[in-house]
């Protein structure tokens, strides 16, 4: 009995590797309603806005040129989580980078006499 191995002797060389997306969120502009995704790598980028654990907006995909400012509609509030997503495959897979809007708070010291 002879065994014949099929043509499985492939050359183990350099196979094309799909690029991995990179998401970056630099900042936001509530007046212009745009989020700066400069540094993101991917064909397309988009934004999600999460409030109290619920995604309240996912923006349409926009082509990424590496300095893309992504428009959004939500009126932002303190504590909102802003995320940039970047993808090479139509968001079948994607990278995510998130930042949260800070929330200030303070109190006055109770006093019992004028100072």
């Amino acid at each position: 009995m002879a065994f014949s191995y099929g043509s499985c002797s492939q050359e183990f060389g350099n196979f094309p590797v799909a690029p991995l997306p990179v998401a970056v969120i630099v900042g936001y502009d509530e007046n212009d309603k745009r989020i700066d995704s400069t540094g993101s790598q991917g064909d397309d980028v988009r934004v999600t806005v999460t409030r109290n654990g619920t995604v309240i907006e996912t923006t349409p995909d926009v082509p990424n040129d590496g300095t893309t400012e992504i428009p959004y509609n939500t009126t932002l509030q303190n504590g909102d989580l802003l995320c940039v997503q970047s993808s090479f495959d139509g968001f079948v897979t994607f990278a995510v980078a998130c930042k949260q809007i800070p929330t200030p708070a303070f109190g006055f010291v109770p006093i019992t006499a004028e100072t």
Binding site: G27, E30, Q100, P102, P104, A105, F106, V109, E114
Partner: protein, 136 residues
């Protein structure tokens, strides 16, 4: 006269930053005539949030630079007041924050009275009627 500000029960939330990262907290003061003043605090998030009822931010209208010493490091305070600002007639205080990533809050924390602060028998509340302190 002066008043004192504390973060003892109301910490700044800046989740983009570790406790040792630098943030900036900007207090803005408004007197009954619309004159303004500011106190700009720089320090780590933990240091600024360590300002409390005993290690407080004192507002007396003096434009000098101040340092608040906390267990988490020093907080530098730079004051700036309109020449006509009257601390005895302060009626409103706002707090805005810039975190370590440059992210700013959308709306300020606000404390105000419905009358000129006399520091007796008045309460201060923020914009959504949350009590901040009762001053006796």
């Amino acid at each position: 006269m002066a008043f004192k500000i504390s973060l003892q029960n109301c910490k700044i939330e800046a989740s983009n930053c570790a406790g040792g990262a630098p943030i900036t907290a900007i207090f803005t003061f408004f007197d009954a005539d619309g004159n303004e003043g500011t106190a700009t605090l720089t320090g780590t998030k933990n240091a600024i949030n360590a300002i409390n009822d005993t290690t407080f931010l004192l507002i007396d209208g003096d434009p000098a630079v101040d340092t608040i010493v906390t267990p988490f490091g020093n907080v530098t305070v730079v004051f700036a007041f309109d020449a006509s600002y009257n601390v005895n007639e302060n009626i409103r205080v706002e707090l805005n924050v810039v975190d370590c990533m440059g992210f700013r809050n959308i709306s300020p924390a606000v404390g105000f009275t419905n009358a000129i602060m006399t520091h007796t028998n008045q309460y201060l509340e923020d914009g959504d009627d949350h009590y901040i302190a009762f001053i006796t």
